[in-house]
Symmetry: D2
Subunit: 371 residues, 4 copies
């Protein structure tokens, strides 16, 4: 790759943050769409580390992405160009002269690095952090398009993000498996899923997987109410229950004490662990915790997520071709549209507590632990 900037037009792609099913599909569609326009495509290795930490990459910090490079990756989990948690370019950890670690803004280095590689435009795939970097790069004059990535589905600017459907589908599969066992063993099973700020995964998987109670950040729960739900089921002859808990679920005032008393149990399982312990105490029924955690982050994307990711990848290149910059592609069914990067991450999309999905759950007798 010769450094002086000559045609053809060059697009760089970067994937940042945690794993999400569909990253490779975004890359594939972007690469094929760029090649289709006669452009060249390069992947920056491990987020922006390929540029910011060049000495770690003796074979080069960017990968030339060709038709062959992206063959067959649509259905593969992970990202072929790597991602990283090593450091946010605007707050990059650096050892100071005193040996302590300081944060340093390396954005200008990143801008210069992109220029040195002759990059004409950047497709930045990632979450909040990546969108923040993209917005800052755009303000510095880099032509950049963001592609949103969060399996939590908690981004306000887009109706869906890839990876979410895969996470919900696998969580539902797990609930299906646990149901017969809960019944056979006459147990209460508490299943903790991702969702620190929004309860989308817990809500969707809980309904589809026939959970009996669903605890989400948007609806503070009273552990007594949850226990009562289980007891009502037992009175009705059903000696088993499944409680789905989002990792960000929080008890309302009244129920804190029961849970908080469990000293020493706060380390591993988070809220799921506390809920499981409290329910066993309150109901007297053997209670087990299953933490799905990392199982929901990876794997082969569902068809829905494959298609969404491919559409996002192609739309990012199309946006560049249209002269766009500083925007994020978003799904606003049935169309893909553009959202200014500055607005894109300014608000979270939490579960509206009166949405029809919540109403569906309530009508089906599912408890949210608050009534």
């Amino acid at each position: 790759m010769s450094h002086p900037h000559t045609p053809p037009f060059r697009v760089a792609i970067s994937t940042g943050g945690g794993d999400a099913p569909g990253l490779n599909a975004v890359i594939r569609a972007a690469v094929l769409s760029a090649l289709h326009r006669g452009w060249e495509c390069y992947g920056i290795r491990d987020g922006f580390a390929g540029i910011l930490a060049p000495k770690d990459y003796p074979n080069g910090g960017v990968i030339h992405l060709t038709r062959d490079t992206v063959r067959g990756v649509t259905s593969q989990g992970g990202t072929i160009i790597g991602t990283t948690n090593r450091g946010h370019p605007m707050r990059y950890p650096t050892v100071g002269p005193d040996g302590k670690i300081y944060e340093r803004d390396r954005l200008d280095e990143l801008v210069n690095g992109l220029a040195a590689y002759g990059i004409d435009a950047l497709v930045s795939i990632g979450g909040d952090g990546s969108m923040e970097i993209a917005a800052a790069l755009a303000r510095k004059g880099v032509r950049v398009i963001g592609v949103p990535k969060t399996i939590d589905n908690d981004l306000d600017g887009t109706v869906s993000t890839f990876g979410f459907d895969t996470a919900v589908a696998f969580a539902t599969d797990c609930l299906d498996r646990l149901l017969s066992t809960a019944q056979a063993h006459q147990r209460v099973l508490v299943v903790e899923v991702m969702g620190r700020y929004a309860g989308w995964i817990a809500l969707h998987a809980g309904i589809a997987g026939s959970a009996h109670a669903i605890l989400i950040p948007e609806i503070p729960f009273d552990i007594q109410k949850v226990a009562e739900k289980i007891q009502r089921r037992e009175a009705d002859g059903r000696y088993f229950s499944i409680v789905v808990v989002a990792e960000g679920a929080k008890p309302s005032g009244g129920s804190v004490s029961v849970i908080a008393n469990e000293a020493g149990r706060e380390r591993l399982g988070g809220v799921g662990d506390k809920v499981a312990h409290a329910l066993q105490e309150l109901t007297g029924r053997e209670t087990r915790l299953v933490v799905l955690g990392h199982l929901l982050r990876g794997g082969s994307p569902t068809t829905f997520d494959r298609l969404l990711a491919l559409r996002f990848g192609a739309a990012a290149i199309r946006a560049i071709d249209e002269g766009q910059s500083g925007i994020m592609v978003a799904l606003n069914p049935p169309i893909v549209n553009y959202v200014p990067l500055d607005e894109a991450t300014s608000r979270m999309k939490t579960v509206p507590i009166d949405c029809d999905t919540i109403l569906t759950a309530r009508d089906m007798g599912i408890s949210f632990g608050n009534e």
Copy 2:
């Protein structure tokens, strides 16, 4: 079930037309939602045959639907109350005095039959035909809510229908399986999928499953162009190709002759058979046909379809509770809304030929056989 109409409020449910993954989930959510309101629920057997052909049902043409009846059915294909192609109530086949079969309007009998069972409201789940019946019943004063069902996704009133995601997911799974074999055997594989009037399944599965050409009703194809796509691939060293064909795909003027010459081949495989035969002739490469057909109609719904179906079922009962009638529930992401039944089926939703999904496919180098 005593016939004189006394409280509690009684809801009947009917499923009409062909199989679609998610029917049982609609039923389950509707039943639980009705019970939650203190109502009773009854399923009419085999479409409306349970009422119109009572002597075929010695044990009764309606089934009392309880919490136990709908336990565990969310993930099951088919419909626990049966469906039927036996006869449209407004054009019911009847043997006349001359022994010939005539069509007879039995709508009044249906209205009376519902009244005789003390039914206060009807949830009619089905396709065009069922919505037409529902609209007619509403005009006769029956309180009726429609729930749309078409795995072809071709209904204009709603952004999605349950069953479609399942069909696309399975078709994509099949394409995944066929890809390595096409490559190993160096063959052209033509894969025919459902879609008589709209190419949604072919388009979505074709993109997600990495097809090389996709033929849909909305874009008339020139078989020569499809053959050229395959030949360009061969010139590039790829001695295999996958062509996805919607059953309603049609050749444009110029290519009719090549296909039409194949006398005697029109019986079984429809357009897929013709395309496969013509491609083998035009490219000289061994070509095989795989018809997915019925494989796409049934089976356990995906999580996406489960949730959509559950939301529709609960929304139908909620609509009754709100005093609605003559409407169809519909998805308008992120909400479920109501559409007048008369409008619901008046227009088809075909693939807009300039939608971003088509653009995505073109950018990825997929041919639609027209250029």
Copy 3:
């Protein structure tokens, strides 16, 4: 069900112990095979509780099993007749006059209960405990056939048991999902699977799912060796590793101390928790624990398990028809044969440490933590 014993011949079926995918398939094949011979079939509810605790079953402690009862259950997890951990009939927990709980031998009551229901033969599906009860019943003159059930695959009398393939398949699916995430996050993931006495699940899933180390009860591990394996991978540029741990894996003498020092961490995660903590300490790399536990016990059986379970169910009825009693059906590929119940559970089938599967793993560079 009339109590005086009259023809036709009556078979009772009982399922005991924990959940295992395939129980319903055994029941279905047994019921259809019995009906095929003109016999009747009854399911005892919840292990033997339907007979020993009749007052808990106001509608009867046994269920008449018909063609309709078993329709469609082949693919369903759980057991339609229930299982129980309530009490082993030979050591049944009973409240004594002093209010304390004593164990009581209620085997004669069980024999009499079966006779009172007019049962001519019993098919007892379950693990060690159920086979012990079956053997004791046979000695008391009951005609009884055992069907082995253990997803751990640790029963010496049979080459395979149903449920094992399902457990291995799902554990492998989980490893597939975790692999891309481990790589993206540059983490060590410790995955604990079932296997208290035998490492079959860990071994098979670990190899099929490309784990880097597998710790099983049969090969005591040295945690230092496991850490060295991870460090060798890092030296080779692979900053992630997956370690599969059977719940019964044990450290060899030398490594106990490292693990045992972690006071207070022994509660939840068992050996997996200890291994994860020790590896983080030894390698300095962030380490996460995923406990699959109950996820492996339930769910829809794989095709392999369906077929094996159906063969077992039919074989049990065939054995009764041949006049057998006191035997367990077993798989000795390609045939199903009979094993005396007394011998059936006398020895465990652990992983032979020089079997070709272990050799395969070693040749592929997988560490067992002992060299």
Copy 4:
């Protein structure tokens, strides 16, 4: 790759014949096992074409197989080194001086080609043809180990072959999907699966997928008996049936006439097409044909097949290390053993008509069309 033969020891791998899930897993285990011994590994491209047709491979007819080359391929369908139907080395199609195509024995060229590449041993993965070539090479002094491949499971020398479990699992999945639709549409569905000489796939999938009749090559069928089975079901109120047909199933004398009369229908669907047509005529019920064909050949292997393929791949290298040659690795549960190549393919393994799996099917009321 330098031609003069110097250490290290060099193993070549070849995959021949049709696609089968698990080929890549064999390759991966063989490569890792060879590297583990300090050997080098090379893949011959497209069967033996990489050596016999060198001018088609400007970049070389063999691929150096490294740890990186085989990363992540365990779960991938197809074969990374290609397979071919281009020509059997002992009967290679060659254009003669008269322009006609003759078969020529190019075995010596193959022996010399392997020597020229410095190959010390060959692992030949494939079906009958590949084993015949391997045996001939062994007789010429090449050190060669065969790895059997047939998804039909019809090889006598081994209890299982990889790919079979995947084919059966997918066929069963298809039957699951078709069942609810057959019921909803009140149809007879005929499902044709692979199995030219042996009915293993039809038998196993048919039982696991709850088919009502199964037609296999080993049991000549009377189409009248099949129709009677369908009619008995209708008399019992079940207006749908599923008939699984192996492509090699044959009518017995009495039923030939009914099927043979269907002139012009013999082209596409083979026996399935004839059976479907005859059943519609005999039963008067609408009958549809689904041909699974190529869908069963490819795709990601099941965990069972992954493990079997990995064991075979490692065993092949172990056999070389032990000084073996002229043998095929085989599964004789629970061990992998060696079978002389000359014996390996001499007999087919067909379904014994009195095996317990057939008895299971009969006891469950499944018809084989012969009684």
